[in-house]
Symmetry: C2
Subunit: 399 residues, 2 copies
């Protein structure tokens, strides 16, 4: 390592940037022999490898020069058209392809939205708890992040209304994950959606609606997105990561017309454009309706594992921890007995052969330390019970 003094002076915002606690945790927990329920990854068993192979061959056979050349910052036009059509048929959203901006994963959507909307000191409102990656994307732009009181249906409309304006200064946006949120798995009811949008519209508070998990429902489809209720007030983020492949890094933003040009400029400054090779491949994969048959197979697989985790929790932890059975997504959210610190519990759990993610990093303010997240999608049903049983044993010893 280098011991020379560094001439670099860091920007003030650099002090607000931190390594992902979860990625650090995963490094510790992903050891051989550990049943890891900590991951936030989809199951690699769901990746449509053959379809990707065929699509890639087609792209390199028919459009090699275009697929390997620079391309438009907005994204591949046929893919933008496909996204608009998909949102119409699957989510009742009526948008133009001209509102669709292809991003390098939906994480980039969070970054460019923050870049365009957050000034140092701006307030932004988030759920309690919320997606850690969004907190990381927002942090470099130096917002004051306000955690809204939330229940198992999402944030309370009264909390949104109360935080929208403080001393005449309006928050820049509320960041919401209505469907099977990471980490809690919660889903907003139709009534909660109506009440939240009503409160936001009344307050003139724009929304960022993040929907990476909306297609992963196991019992019934969730209600339509918030964006259907207030198109000009909602910036909507979607992703191919959970229904096709995260390794291709493809997501999209659907922006109100007034906001689109600035997001496009931010995108252009950030990476010129998202890999056109990847965009063309994904377009070939989805254009003939593969998702119509593929996503139900993911749902069927994950539902079995969701049910296995629910059964294991009922068997081993009923009466000890509190949880809601998630009706979609990838996660269970557990509330441990008061006084138990999940972060302190983790090394004991790893020693006992299982891993989870402590809930603490997901809170923007006032963390509930007696919470943790379990993923049910990457570990087979039998292993899920082994992991939950190990957690129960460790909890019993700690209690």
């Amino acid at each position: 390592m280098n011991s020379m003094p560094s001439p670099f002076t860091l920007a003030r915002r650099a002090a607000l940037m931190n390594p992902s606690i979860i990625r650090e945790i995963l490094k510790v927990t992903e050891q051989p022999g550990i049943v890891s329920l900590a991951g936030g990854l989809p199951s690699a068993d769901t990746f449509p490898v053959q379809a990707v192979r065929e699509a890639t061959e087609k792209v390199l056979r028919e459009h090699p020069r275009e697929a390997l050349q620079y391309a438009a910052s907005e994204g591949f036009a046929p893919l933008r058209e496909w996204v608009a059509a998909h949102l119409a048929t699957q989510h009742d959203m009526r948008v133009h392809a001209g509102q669709v901006l292809i991003t390098t994963g939906s994480q980039q959507g969070l970054d460019i939205a923050a870049k365009v909307l957050i000034d140092a000191g701006s307030r932004v409102l988030v759920e309690t708890p919320t997606y850690l990656g969004a907190l990381q994307a927002f942090a470099p732009y130096e917002p004051r992040v306000v955690a809204m009181a939330s229940d198992h249906e999402g944030p309370l409309p009264s909390a949104l209304s109360a935080a929208a304006d403080v001393a005449g200064e309006r928050a820049r946006f509320a960041y919401l994950l209505p469907n099977f949120q990471n980490p809690t798995g919660h889903v907003y009811t139709e009534a909660r959606r109506a009440a939240l949008v009503n409160a936001a519209r009344t307050a003139g508070l724009p929304l960022i609606e993040d929907n990476p998990y909306g297609d992963l429902w196991y019992d019934q489809a969730p209600p339509p997105p918030l964006a259907t209720r207030w198109p000009e007030g909602v910036l909507y983020l979607g992703s191919f990561s959970k229904v096709l492949s995260p390794g291709l890094r493809l997501g999209y933003v659907v922006a109100p017309h007034a906001l689109y040009p600035k997001l496009l400029q931010a995108k252009q400054a950030a990476d010129l454009h998202t890999s056109i090779f990847n965009q063309r491949i994904v377009y070939e994969v989805v254009r003939n309706g593969l998702l119509d048959t593929h996503v139900p197979t993911i749902r069927a697989r994950y539902k079995v594992q969701r049910d296995a985790m629910q059964a294991a929790l009922e068997k081993h932890l009923s009466g000890v921890v509190q949880w809601q059975r998630p009706v979609g997504g990838m996660f269970f959210w557990l509330e441990l007995p008061a006084g138990i610190d999940a972060m302190a519990l983790l090394p004991k759990a790893v020693a006992a052969g299982m891993a989870f993610v402590p809930g603490e990093p997901f809170f923007a303010e006032a963390p509930l330390r007696n919470t943790l997240r379990l993923s049910f999608v990457t570990v087979a049903a039998a292993q899920i019970e082994t992991g939950v049983a190990a957690l129960a044993k460790v909890l019993k010893e700690a209690g």
Copy 2:
């Protein structure tokens, strides 16, 4: 379009973000029948399509799950090792793979460097003229951009020294393109490199060294990078865009140890990681030395076209415009007679059947409006002469 009032409030920085003037120009100029010397693209004829095809097949056959899954923010470890080895053998740089951060094109390297190093009001120093994409990457972080006096070998060391500290406030960095710069094609001599690094080190002024074109030399290889002279003071940016394919969006940053962690956090916040599918493909393409045979074919092709443009300029514009024959890269930089505004000339040139890029957008301060950039890489030699002849005709009419 939507006529509802927008509830979104833009961040202050959004006013500093602008559409790429060049992309707007290209939309106008890339019409059928126009000899466009305006593009900044490499020639698609140079893309190693068969090698990409074979690499993709191998990746999807041997590592489909890993190639389509989430991956490390630092980048694919074997590719990082390859970059470190490549820089050692090709550019005399001695770096650890642990200093290499894979980025989504080198444009992302500019974005995350700016995010980590620029506060609102920070001064950053650039060449006169400089790469427009860097100005766009820096702008959202609200720097004061200072254009250093430059000649055909790059910025003057005295200008760097003079601008490094102003009233006790040190500039955050100087952004330098020593090899075949876009737009001027200039290359720094060995002596200029030594003098600039000496001046920077004396002033404690870090450097960002951008080297997308360094492998595209036609007469002799350029001197070693500035980073070899001051490893702890130089952030080095590289790219696969000009030697393999820009559509894959793969670049890299080589960071001093002290700076790496913050760049990594900025990268993670920006898009989690660069497509691992693309990283594995490029690794398969380059691991067995393809660049050793492939890059010389690009050089040979571009050299012929460089010579064709030089001959055409000598034939049609000698004594009318000033230029230096570039010894690498993709561009000629022309200085027109005083009083001719290249931006105003462009529509006339397009009407006469050719297109160029006016020099004005490349200047951070005090643009020389009688300058323009010509690319010699995407148009065949015969067409190059047609384009240059048309430019000469239009200039004659304007003069």
